[in-house]
């Protein structure tokens, strides 16, 4: 309880509260603009967060991502274009509800469900993460090595529809993580005599390049393409009736639990959570035939799930130091930059900080309701901001953000190189998210692998000797090689089938 009040004291500082308000406004703004994701909002904020205290920095990321997640529903409702990928599942339902003059049942419902989902996820995080941390406290470098390797296997989950390209993108991220001084021997790797590369490739610069500059390239090539007009007006009350809300209680509860659990799986983020909750809500819906044509049940289940997934993704992040998605990958980076090593010991060594994270989650989701109502009314103005104003300002934020990483123009070259690389990759259907996963987890994998190898004196069998390490090791190998085995079995059966028939 003392730690909780210590956390509360950390949050109730003027600088933290002001930061929460500013990042809330920024998150709502970016989330509302179609094509700009919650990850991009966070990536642009990281250089700013870097200058703040650890609690203020984390509050910035948590608040911004929660707000952007809801704000993505606003263009979905008015333009039929999801502002963030997590809103895609129920875009048609939202738009059809607004078209029929039921603003409260669309955006109001989504707003209240997002806030409830976020709070539900935070409560599960508060009670679930410490229990898991107690279990993980005896983990050694062997267990962490397997966990990090398991986290890397999630590249297939964030890879999109082409797993092979996802794996390749992952190796690019892993390669970037080995550039610089080797942490065991101090030998320079791939620095080519450039002093600035000795400290390695900064993940903030890579994030800005991968998620912001590459997006500007994509927008530049799409210039002049016909854009959707904001044709719908705002009519009706901004919030749903209490009776309607109460009718959705089961979908909200189910969406909250599904969202948190899926968010807690490394690699499976809010997008997947929203789709799964949408499908499950349809299965239990009173009117499943209305799904995709203006269903309040669809909005309730999926909108709860995507915000709950945000909270859930902090479970592996805090307990194991393994990011659940690209936003928590940034959180791991910020924690390490601030001298806090995520893992089970963070619950002992930085208990006040962990409690501050819970409180910020609760606060951000409570704040979401009043700010969200304002955003619904401002939404039409924001989504009609011209590209000619928006993109030059984003470019400016990229330039200053990159420079702010180390007060050195060298970071600009990393942003530029990453931006061009990721743009070309995305144009050719190579996903960017595994690259970030590889960059963040690469160092964790190598450090734990090298520590384990030194402890084991080169004997690989020792990697499986401890019970949990053994289970994790076998699990990791199964996850890694299952697609290969399944493919081979399918091929063998495929060739055996016709032979049997003849």
């Amino acid at each position: 309880m003392t730690a909780f009040f210590d956390g509360l004291t950390l949050v109730m500082q003027a600088d933290v509260l002001v930061t929460i308000l500013i990042s809330a406004a920024f998150g709502l703004f970016v989330g509302m603009v179609p094509g700009l994701s919650a990850t991009m909002a966070v990536a642009l904020l990281v250089p700013v967060a870097f200058t703040l205290s650890p609690v203020a920095a984390l509050a910035t990321i948590i608040t911004c991502s929660a707000m952007a997640m809801f704000a993505g529903d606003i263009p979905a409702a008015f333009l039929r274009i999801p502002g963030t990928p997590a809103s895609a599942a129920y875009t048609y339902d939202m738009n059809d509800l607004v078209r029929s003059g039921r603003l409260g049942d669309a955006l109001g419902m989504s707003l209240l469900c997002s806030a409830t989902g976020g709070i539900l996820g935070a409560v599960i995080l508060m009670f679930g993460a410490p229990l898991l941390a107690d279990f993980a406290i005896n983990f050694s470098s062997y267990e962490y090595f397997w966990l990090a390797l398991l986290g890397l296997s999630c590249a297939t989950l964030v890879a999109g529809d082409d797993a092979l390209k996802g794996w390749l993108s992952l190796t690019i991220g892993l390669f970037l993580s080995v550039i610089g001084l080797d942490f065991v021997t101090g030998i320079q790797r791939y620095t080519f005599g450039v002093t600035n590369l000795q400290a390695g490739i900064g993940f903030i610069s890579v994030m800005i390049g991968a998620f912001a500059l590459s997006e500007l390239f994509r927008k530049a090539t799409g210039f002049g393409e016909k854009q959707a007009e904001a044709r719908l007006g705002i009519s009706g009350a901004p919030l749903p009736r209490m009776r309607t809300l109460w009718d959705q209680r089961n979908h909200i509860a189910r969406g909250g639990v599904i969202g948190t659990l899926i968010g807690a799986l490394p690699g499976a983020g809010a997008d997947i959570a929203a789709w799964v909750a949408y499908a499950v809500s349809k299965r239990f819906a009173k009117e499943p035939e209305r799904f995709g044509r203006g269903s309040v049940e669809a909005v309730a289940g999926a909108a709860t799930a995507n915000n709950a997934a945000l909270s859930g993704s902090y479970v592996p992040t805090l307990v194991f130091g393994i990011p659940g998605d690209s936003i928590t990958a940034i959180v791991v980076g910020v924690l390490i930059l601030k001298g806090i090593q995520p893992g089970p010991l963070v619950f002992v060594n930085s208990a006040d900080m962990v409690n501050a994270i819970y409180i910020v989650f609760l606060l951000a989701n409570i704040l979401l309701v009043p700010l969200g109502i304002a955003a619904i009314y401002l939404g039409r103005t924001v989504i009609s901001i011209r590209d000619a104003i928006l993109y030059p300002v984003i470019l400016l934020l990229c330039l200053y953000g990159a420079y702010a990483v180390s007060n050195n123009t060298f970071e600009l070259w990393i942003v530029l190189a990453t931006g061009i690389l990721v743009w070309i990759m995305q144009e050719n259907n190579y996903p960017a998210a595994p690259l970030i996963l590889g960059l963040v987890l690469g160092q964790v994998v190598e450090q734990n692998f090298m520590s384990s190898l030194i402890k084991a004196d080169g004997n690989i069998i020792n990697f499986f000797n401890r019970p949990i390490a053994g289970v994790l090791g076998v699990l990791t190998l199964v996850v890694w090689f299952y697609p290969l085995m399944a493919g081979t079995i399918r091929r063998v059966r495929g060739t055996a089938g016709p032979t049997d028939q003849t």
């Binding site: 790797r189 470019l395 702010a404 070259w413």
Partner: protein, 153 residues
């Protein structure tokens, strides 16, 4: 810049091989932990995945189609402008100051996106000064300073 999978796969396979080969030159001290181990594994896997992608797409190797935006001078200018802007900021800001350079970049970027020159100048000046002020005075980030920053301090 859509290229056939064969060529992108082949390109990444070549990079993977280069990474693995270059790693063999790292000095290995006595002991179990070799600094060349992980880079070799990464390079090998990159070469493997790149090779598989190339193999999968070899039938379409000849289907090279230029992207549509290359035929539009405005789109080409917008694409080229981005790296030019980053390089210009990196080289000129330490000499002329951040605000001045970003004002010019914002103005030109706005004009390229179709904003009227007068509005683009207003955008450049207002956003350039406001964001510079925010970074320097509110966040305390020592952006490269010039005469405008001196006036604002």
């Amino acid at each position: 810049m859509r290229l056939p999978d064969f060529w992108t796969g082949l390109g990444f396979a070549a990079v993977g091989i280069a990474i693995a080969v270059y790693a063999q030159g790292f000095h290995v001290p006595a002991g179990a932990a070799s600094p060349r181990l992980l880079p070799t594994i990464i390079g090998s896997f990159m070469a493997l995945f790149g090779g598989l992608i190339a193999l999968r797409g070899w039938r379409e190797a000849g289907n090279v189609a230029l992207p549509g935006w290359l035929s539009s001078p405005r789109q080409v200018t917008l694409v080229v402008f981005l790296p030019v802007a980053v390089i210009a900021y990196g080289l000129l800001a330490p000499r002329l100051g951040s605000s001045l350079v970003t004002m010019v970049i914002l103005t030109l970027h706005g004009i390229l996106y179709g904003l009227r020159p007068l509005y683009a100048i207003v955008l450049g000046v207002c956003a350039g000064i406001a964001v510079s002020f925010l970074f320097i005075h509110v966040l305390g980030i020592p952006l490269p300073a010039g005469w405008i920053e001196e006036l604002l301090s």
